[in-house]
Symmetry: none
Subunit: 169 residues, 2 copies
Amino acid sequence: MLNTPRTSASRARWAFVLYGLALGLLLAALQVARYRWLLLHQAQEWYFGLIALLFTVVGIWAGHRWRSGRNSAVQTPVALAPPPADTLSGAELEQALQDLGLTSREYEVLQLIAGGLSNQEIAGRLFVSLNTVKTHTSNLFAKLDVQRRTQAVQKAQALGLLPTAHPKV
Amino acid sequence: MLNTPRTSASRARWAFVLYGLALGLLLAALQVARYRWLLLHQAQEWYFGLIALLFTVVGIWAGHRWRSGRNSAVQTPVALAPPPADTLSGAELEQALQDLGLTSREYEVLQLIAGGLSNQEIAGRLFVSLNTVKTHTSNLFAKLDVQRRTQAVQKAQALGLLPTAHPKV
DNA sequence: GCCCAAATCACCCGAAAGTATGGGGGCATT
DNA sequence: AATGCCCCCATACTTTCGGGTGATTTGGGC
Protein backbone atom coordinates (compact mmCIF):
# COMPACT_ATOMS: atom_id res chain seq x y z
CA MET A 1 0.00 0.00 0.00
CA LEU A 2 1.16 3.41 -0.52
CA ASN A 3 4.03 2.79 -2.78
CA THR A 4 6.34 4.70 -0.59
CA PRO A 5 9.83 4.82 -1.91
CA ARG A 6 11.72 1.75 -1.24
CA THR A 7 14.50 3.82 0.15
CA SER A 8 14.16 2.52 3.61
CA ALA A 9 11.42 0.34 4.87
CA SER A 10 12.10 1.34 8.42
CA ARG A 11 11.40 4.93 7.59
CA ALA A 12 8.00 4.16 6.17
CA ARG A 13 7.29 1.96 9.11
CA TRP A 14 8.16 4.72 11.45
CA ALA A 15 5.84 7.02 9.63
CA PHE A 16 3.07 4.56 10.07
CA VAL A 17 3.79 4.04 13.68
CA LEU A 18 3.59 7.73 14.24
CA TYR A 19 0.53 7.91 12.16
CA GLY A 20 -1.21 5.25 14.11
CA LEU A 21 -0.20 6.85 17.33
CA ALA A 22 -1.53 10.20 16.27
CA LEU A 23 -4.71 8.63 15.14
CA GLY A 24 -5.16 6.91 18.44
CA LEU A 25 -4.48 10.01 20.40
CA LEU A 26 -6.86 12.06 18.35
CA LEU A 27 -9.55 9.51 18.64
CA ALA A 28 -8.97 9.48 22.33
CA ALA A 29 -9.26 13.23 22.40
CA LEU A 30 -12.50 12.95 20.57
CA GLN A 31 -13.78 10.48 23.04
CA VAL A 32 -12.69 12.63 25.89
CA ALA A 33 -14.58 15.53 24.49
CA ARG A 34 -17.53 13.34 23.96
CA TYR A 35 -17.57 11.71 27.33
CA ARG A 36 -16.11 14.39 29.40
CA TRP A 37 -18.74 14.14 31.96
CA LEU A 38 -18.12 10.46 32.31
CA LEU A 39 -14.51 10.71 33.13
CA LEU A 40 -14.81 9.86 36.74
CA HIS A 41 -16.52 6.63 36.16
CA GLN A 42 -14.89 3.43 35.25
CA ALA A 43 -11.51 2.88 33.84
CA GLN A 44 -12.04 5.16 30.95
CA GLU A 45 -8.34 5.70 30.81
CA TRP A 46 -7.80 2.10 29.93
CA TYR A 47 -10.21 2.39 27.15
CA PHE A 48 -8.46 5.33 25.67
CA GLY A 49 -5.11 3.76 26.09
CA LEU A 50 -6.27 0.65 24.40
CA ILE A 51 -7.71 2.51 21.47
CA ALA A 52 -4.49 4.35 20.99
CA LEU A 53 -2.52 1.18 21.23
CA LEU A 54 -4.83 -0.55 18.86
CA PHE A 55 -4.52 2.08 16.24
CA THR A 56 -0.82 2.01 16.59
CA VAL A 57 -0.84 -1.69 16.00
CA VAL A 58 -3.04 -1.22 13.01
CA GLY A 59 -0.72 1.38 11.65
CA ILE A 60 2.24 -0.89 12.01
CA TRP A 61 0.32 -3.70 10.52
CA ALA A 62 -0.76 -1.69 7.53
CA GLY A 63 2.78 -0.57 7.00
CA HIS A 64 3.81 -4.15 7.15
CA ARG A 65 1.44 -5.19 4.49
CA TRP A 66 -0.82 -7.22 6.69
CA ARG A 67 1.14 -10.42 6.40
CA SER A 68 -1.12 -12.90 8.10
CA GLY A 69 -0.27 -11.82 11.62
CA ARG A 70 -3.54 -11.35 13.40
CA ASN A 71 -1.76 -12.23 16.58
CA SER A 72 -4.35 -10.33 18.48
CA ALA A 73 -1.91 -7.96 19.99
CA VAL A 74 -4.80 -6.58 21.82
CA GLN A 75 -5.53 -8.83 24.70
CA THR A 76 -2.10 -8.28 26.10
CA PRO A 77 -2.24 -4.63 27.12
CA VAL A 78 -4.22 -4.63 30.23
CA ALA A 79 -3.80 -7.37 32.68
CA LEU A 80 -3.96 -6.71 36.32
CA ALA A 81 -4.18 -9.49 38.76
CA PRO A 82 -7.04 -9.06 41.16
CA PRO A 83 -7.20 -10.62 44.54
CA PRO A 84 -10.33 -12.67 44.19
CA ALA A 85 -11.85 -12.29 47.54
CA ASP A 86 -15.56 -12.46 47.53
CA THR A 87 -18.14 -11.11 49.81
CA LEU A 88 -17.56 -9.55 53.12
CA SER A 89 -19.24 -11.28 55.97
CA GLY A 90 -20.68 -10.55 59.36
CA ALA A 91 -19.03 -7.73 61.16
CA GLU A 92 -17.10 -6.62 58.17
CA LEU A 93 -20.24 -6.27 56.18
CA GLU A 94 -21.97 -4.25 58.82
CA GLN A 95 -18.97 -2.03 59.12
CA ALA A 96 -18.93 -1.46 55.40
CA LEU A 97 -22.59 -0.67 55.34
CA GLN A 98 -22.21 1.74 58.17
CA ASP A 99 -19.34 3.46 56.50
CA LEU A 100 -21.47 3.99 53.49
CA GLY A 101 -24.38 5.07 55.59
CA LEU A 102 -26.63 2.42 54.15
CA THR A 103 -29.63 1.57 56.22
CA SER A 104 -30.88 -1.95 56.55
CA ARG A 105 -33.85 -1.24 54.38
CA GLU A 106 -31.72 0.22 51.69
CA TYR A 107 -29.49 -2.77 51.79
CA GLU A 108 -32.47 -5.04 51.39
CA VAL A 109 -33.56 -3.12 48.38
CA LEU A 110 -30.07 -3.27 47.01
CA GLN A 111 -30.06 -7.02 47.29
CA LEU A 112 -33.33 -7.30 45.50
CA ILE A 113 -32.18 -4.98 42.80
CA ALA A 114 -29.18 -7.18 42.31
CA GLY A 115 -31.61 -10.03 42.06
CA GLY A 116 -32.96 -8.43 38.95
CA LEU A 117 -36.27 -7.37 40.40
CA SER A 118 -38.13 -4.29 39.28
CA ASN A 119 -39.16 -1.66 41.76
CA GLN A 120 -42.69 -2.88 41.56
CA GLU A 121 -41.64 -6.41 42.39
CA ILE A 122 -39.47 -5.21 45.20
CA ALA A 123 -42.41 -3.32 46.59
CA GLY A 124 -44.43 -6.50 46.55
CA ARG A 125 -41.65 -8.44 48.19
CA LEU A 126 -41.22 -5.97 51.01
CA PHE A 127 -44.90 -5.20 51.40
CA VAL A 128 -44.45 -1.53 50.82
CA SER A 129 -45.57 0.84 48.13
CA LEU A 130 -43.78 1.46 44.90
CA ASN A 131 -43.07 5.00 45.98
CA THR A 132 -41.31 3.80 49.05
CA VAL A 133 -39.09 1.58 47.04
CA LYS A 134 -38.28 4.49 44.82
CA THR A 135 -37.31 6.56 47.77
CA HIS A 136 -35.06 3.82 49.04
CA THR A 137 -33.41 3.29 45.72
CA SER A 138 -32.94 6.99 45.33
CA ASN A 139 -31.21 7.32 48.66
CA LEU A 140 -29.28 4.19 47.95
CA PHE A 141 -27.96 5.49 44.69
CA ALA A 142 -26.95 8.73 46.30
CA LYS A 143 -25.00 6.92 48.97
CA LEU A 144 -23.33 4.64 46.51
CA ASP A 145 -22.73 7.57 44.24
CA VAL A 146 -24.26 5.97 41.20
CA GLN A 147 -27.21 6.76 39.01
CA ARG A 148 -28.32 3.44 37.68
CA ARG A 149 -29.20 0.17 39.28
CA THR A 150 -26.71 -1.68 37.17
CA GLN A 151 -24.02 0.59 38.48
CA ALA A 152 -25.26 0.11 41.99
CA VAL A 153 -25.01 -3.63 41.69
CA GLN A 154 -21.61 -3.39 40.15
CA LYS A 155 -20.31 -1.12 42.82
CA ALA A 156 -21.83 -3.13 45.60
CA GLN A 157 -20.19 -6.25 44.29
CA ALA A 158 -16.91 -4.46 43.96
CA LEU A 159 -17.24 -3.39 47.55
CA GLY A 160 -18.01 -6.91 48.59
CA LEU A 161 -21.45 -6.01 49.78
CA LEU A 162 -23.11 -8.43 47.50
CA PRO A 163 -22.36 -11.98 46.58
CA THR A 164 -21.33 -12.36 43.01
CA ALA A 165 -23.16 -14.87 40.97
CA HIS A 166 -20.96 -17.80 40.22
CA PRO A 167 -21.10 -20.13 37.33
CA LYS A 168 -22.49 -23.37 38.50
CA VAL A 169 -20.16 -25.34 36.31
CA MET B 1 -14.78 -14.50 15.93
CA LEU B 2 -17.59 -15.57 18.02
CA ASN B 3 -20.63 -16.22 16.06
CA THR B 4 -19.39 -15.12 12.76
CA PRO B 5 -18.18 -17.95 10.65
CA ARG B 6 -18.86 -16.14 7.47
CA THR B 7 -16.13 -13.64 8.01
CA SER B 8 -13.49 -14.64 5.61
CA ALA B 9 -10.06 -13.34 6.07
CA SER B 10 -10.39 -11.60 2.77
CA ARG B 11 -12.90 -9.21 4.14
CA ALA B 12 -10.75 -8.14 6.99
CA ARG B 13 -7.79 -7.94 4.75
CA TRP B 14 -9.66 -5.83 2.32
CA ALA B 15 -10.69 -3.46 5.04
CA PHE B 16 -7.16 -3.14 6.21
CA VAL B 17 -5.85 -2.63 2.76
CA LEU B 18 -8.26 0.20 2.29
CA TYR B 19 -7.35 1.53 5.63
CA GLY B 20 -3.71 1.47 4.86
CA LEU B 21 -4.34 3.04 1.52
CA ALA B 22 -6.30 5.83 3.07
CA LEU B 23 -3.59 6.35 5.61
CA GLY B 24 -0.99 6.52 2.94
CA LEU B 25 -2.92 8.94 0.81
CA LEU B 26 -3.56 11.19 3.72
CA LEU B 27 0.01 11.11 4.75
CA ALA B 28 1.11 11.95 1.26
CA ALA B 29 -1.45 14.71 0.94
CA LEU B 30 -0.32 16.15 4.19
CA GLN B 31 3.26 16.18 3.16
CA VAL B 32 2.40 17.84 -0.09
CA ALA B 33 0.22 20.37 1.58
CA ARG B 34 2.80 21.12 4.15
CA TYR B 35 5.53 21.87 1.69
CA ARG B 36 3.31 23.55 -0.82
CA TRP B 37 1.04 26.33 0.15
CA LEU B 38 0.63 25.62 3.74
CA LEU B 39 2.58 27.39 6.26
CA LEU B 40 4.84 26.31 9.00
CA HIS B 41 4.58 29.55 10.78
CA GLN B 42 0.96 30.45 10.68
CA ALA B 43 -2.23 29.62 12.41
CA GLN B 44 -1.38 26.10 13.13
CA GLU B 45 -4.52 25.62 15.08
CA TRP B 46 -6.37 25.60 11.85
CA TYR B 47 -4.08 23.16 10.26
CA PHE B 48 -4.12 20.96 13.26
CA GLY B 49 -7.82 21.05 13.58
CA LEU B 50 -8.22 19.95 10.01
CA ILE B 51 -5.80 17.13 10.45
CA ALA B 52 -7.52 16.06 13.60
CA LEU B 53 -10.82 15.95 11.85
CA LEU B 54 -9.49 13.93 8.96
CA PHE B 55 -7.70 11.48 11.16
CA THR B 56 -10.67 11.05 13.36
CA VAL B 57 -12.97 10.39 10.48
CA VAL B 58 -10.62 7.86 9.05
CA GLY B 59 -10.26 6.21 12.40
CA ILE B 60 -13.93 6.01 12.95
CA TRP B 61 -14.53 4.78 9.48
CA ALA B 62 -11.92 2.10 9.79
CA GLY B 63 -13.18 1.01 13.14
CA HIS B 64 -16.62 0.96 11.76
CA ARG B 65 -15.45 -1.09 8.86
CA TRP B 66 -13.90 -3.97 10.62
CA ARG B 67 -16.16 -3.91 13.55
CA SER B 68 -19.09 -4.80 11.42
CA GLY B 69 -18.14 -8.25 10.44
CA ARG B 70 -15.69 -9.30 13.00
CA ASN B 71 -15.62 -7.54 16.24
CA SER B 72 -11.98 -7.91 16.97
CA ALA B 73 -11.44 -4.25 17.35
CA VAL B 74 -14.04 -3.03 19.68
CA GLN B 75 -14.14 -6.09 21.71
CA THR B 76 -10.86 -5.07 23.14
CA PRO B 77 -11.87 -2.07 25.14
CA VAL B 78 -14.69 -4.06 26.44
CA ALA B 79 -12.49 -6.93 27.34
CA LEU B 80 -10.49 -4.79 29.65
CA ALA B 81 -12.79 -5.93 32.36
CA PRO B 82 -11.16 -7.71 35.24
CA PRO B 83 -9.39 -10.84 34.27
CA PRO B 84 -11.55 -13.90 34.26
CA ALA B 85 -11.46 -15.41 37.65
CA ASP B 86 -14.74 -17.19 37.56
CA THR B 87 -15.49 -16.73 33.94
CA LEU B 88 -15.41 -19.11 31.12
CA SER B 89 -12.57 -18.46 28.78
CA GLY B 90 -11.69 -18.81 25.19
CA ALA B 91 -13.26 -21.75 23.49
CA GLU B 92 -15.64 -22.42 26.33
CA LEU B 93 -16.94 -18.92 26.18
CA GLU B 94 -17.50 -19.05 22.49
CA GLN B 95 -19.23 -22.34 22.80
CA ALA B 96 -21.50 -21.00 25.47
CA LEU B 97 -22.31 -17.95 23.42
CA GLN B 98 -23.05 -20.05 20.43
CA ASP B 99 -25.31 -22.31 22.41
CA LEU B 100 -27.26 -19.32 23.50
CA GLY B 101 -27.27 -17.94 20.00
CA LEU B 102 -25.69 -14.72 21.11
CA THR B 103 -23.98 -12.76 18.38
CA SER B 104 -20.76 -10.97 18.96
CA ARG B 105 -22.47 -7.65 18.91
CA GLU B 106 -25.00 -8.72 21.43
CA TYR B 107 -22.28 -9.97 23.67
CA GLU B 108 -20.53 -6.66 23.45
CA VAL B 109 -23.66 -4.88 24.44
CA LEU B 110 -24.10 -7.29 27.29
CA GLN B 111 -20.68 -6.53 28.58
CA LEU B 112 -21.29 -2.83 28.46
CA ILE B 113 -24.60 -3.23 30.17
CA ALA B 114 -22.85 -5.11 32.90
CA GLY B 115 -20.46 -2.23 33.07
CA GLY B 116 -23.32 -0.07 34.18
CA LEU B 117 -23.57 1.95 31.01
CA SER B 118 -26.79 3.37 29.72
CA ASN B 119 -28.01 2.54 26.26
CA GLN B 120 -27.02 5.98 25.13
CA GLU B 121 -23.51 5.53 26.39
CA ILE B 122 -23.27 2.14 24.82
CA ALA B 123 -24.35 3.63 21.55
CA GLY B 124 -21.58 6.15 21.87
CA ARG B 125 -19.00 3.51 22.62
CA LEU B 126 -19.97 1.32 19.75
CA PHE B 127 -20.53 4.18 17.38
CA VAL B 128 -24.04 3.14 16.58
CA SER B 129 -27.40 4.72 17.20
CA LEU B 130 -29.44 4.41 20.32
CA ASN B 131 -32.05 2.51 18.40
CA THR B 132 -29.55 -0.06 17.35
CA VAL B 133 -28.49 -0.60 20.90
CA LYS B 134 -32.08 -1.06 21.84
CA THR B 135 -32.49 -3.63 19.15
CA HIS B 136 -29.47 -5.51 20.37
CA THR B 137 -30.56 -5.43 23.95
CA SER B 138 -33.98 -6.55 22.98
CA ASN B 139 -32.67 -9.55 21.07
CA LEU B 140 -30.23 -10.18 23.84
CA PHE B 141 -32.92 -10.27 26.46
CA ALA B 142 -34.97 -12.61 24.38
CA LYS B 143 -32.09 -15.00 24.02
CA LEU B 144 -31.25 -14.87 27.67
CA ASP B 145 -34.91 -15.10 28.48
CA VAL B 146 -34.97 -12.07 30.71
CA GLN B 147 -36.68 -8.74 30.56
CA ARG B 148 -34.41 -6.41 32.42
CA ARG B 149 -30.80 -5.56 32.17
CA THR B 150 -30.16 -6.39 35.76
CA GLN B 151 -31.51 -9.84 35.12
CA ALA B 152 -29.41 -10.15 32.03
CA VAL B 153 -26.27 -9.34 33.94
CA GLN B 154 -27.18 -11.71 36.69
CA LYS B 155 -27.87 -14.54 34.35
CA ALA B 156 -24.81 -13.91 32.29
CA GLN B 157 -22.66 -13.99 35.38
CA ALA B 158 -24.31 -17.16 36.51
CA LEU B 159 -23.54 -18.67 33.16
CA GLY B 160 -19.97 -17.54 33.42
CA LEU B 161 -20.27 -15.28 30.44
CA LEU B 162 -19.25 -12.24 32.35
CA PRO B 163 -16.56 -11.55 34.84
CA THR B 164 -17.89 -10.72 38.25
CA ALA B 165 -16.77 -7.61 39.94
CA HIS B 166 -14.15 -8.24 42.54
CA PRO B 167 -13.80 -6.52 45.81
CA LYS B 168 -10.68 -4.47 45.66
CA VAL B 169 -9.73 -5.24 49.19
C1' DG C 1 -41.19 16.04 76.09
C1' DC C 2 -38.10 17.07 72.17
C1' DC C 3 -35.37 15.85 68.48
C1' DC C 4 -33.72 12.80 65.05
C1' DA C 5 -33.17 9.20 61.94
C1' DA C 6 -35.50 5.79 59.61
C1' DA C 7 -39.25 4.28 57.21
C1' DT C 8 -43.26 5.06 54.80
C1' DC C 9 -45.98 7.24 51.10
C1' DA C 10 -47.41 10.70 47.62
C1' DC C 11 -47.15 13.52 43.30
C1' DC C 12 -44.85 15.30 39.42
C1' DC C 13 -41.92 15.12 35.53
C1' DG C 14 -38.37 14.06 32.43
C1' DA C 15 -35.39 10.57 30.97
C1' DA C 16 -34.34 5.94 30.16
C1' DA C 17 -35.62 1.40 29.11
C1' DG C 18 -38.18 -1.96 26.78
C1' DT C 19 -41.49 -3.77 22.96
C1' DA C 20 -43.09 -4.18 18.34
C1' DT C 21 -42.51 -3.70 13.60
C1' DG C 22 -40.35 -2.81 9.36
C1' DG C 23 -36.69 -1.71 6.17
C1' DG C 24 -32.01 -1.60 4.04
C1' DG C 25 -27.27 -3.30 3.25
C1' DG C 26 -23.42 -6.60 3.46
C1' DC C 27 -21.77 -11.03 3.17
C1' DA C 28 -21.55 -16.12 3.02
C1' DT C 29 -23.67 -20.27 1.71
C1' DT C 30 -26.26 -22.92 -1.43
C1' DA D 1 -29.88 -15.73 -7.93
C1' DA D 2 -31.87 -16.95 -3.73
C1' DT D 3 -31.54 -17.41 1.07
C1' DG D 4 -30.31 -16.56 5.64
C1' DC D 5 -27.67 -14.08 9.14
C1' DC D 6 -26.17 -10.16 11.11
C1' DC D 7 -25.87 -5.45 11.71
C1' DC D 8 -27.79 -1.01 11.52
C1' DC D 9 -31.51 2.34 11.91
C1' DA D 10 -36.12 4.25 12.46
C1' DT D 11 -40.86 5.19 14.31
C1' DA D 12 -44.20 4.65 17.67
C1' DC D 13 -45.68 3.40 21.95
C1' DT D 14 -45.76 1.75 26.90
C1' DT D 15 -43.50 1.06 30.99
C1' DT D 16 -40.01 1.71 34.24
C1' DC D 17 -36.48 4.55 36.37
C1' DG D 18 -34.64 8.28 38.63
C1' DG D 19 -34.73 12.94 40.63
C1' DG D 20 -36.96 16.31 43.34
C1' DT D 21 -39.97 17.81 46.97
C1' DG D 22 -42.74 17.31 50.79
C1' DA D 23 -45.29 14.94 54.38
C1' DT D 24 -46.45 11.60 58.21
C1' DT D 25 -45.38 8.19 61.54
C1' DT D 26 -42.59 5.72 64.82
C1' DG D 27 -38.96 4.33 67.98
C1' DG D 28 -34.94 5.81 70.60
C1' DG D 29 -31.90 8.71 72.78
C1' DC D 30 -30.84 13.09 75.22
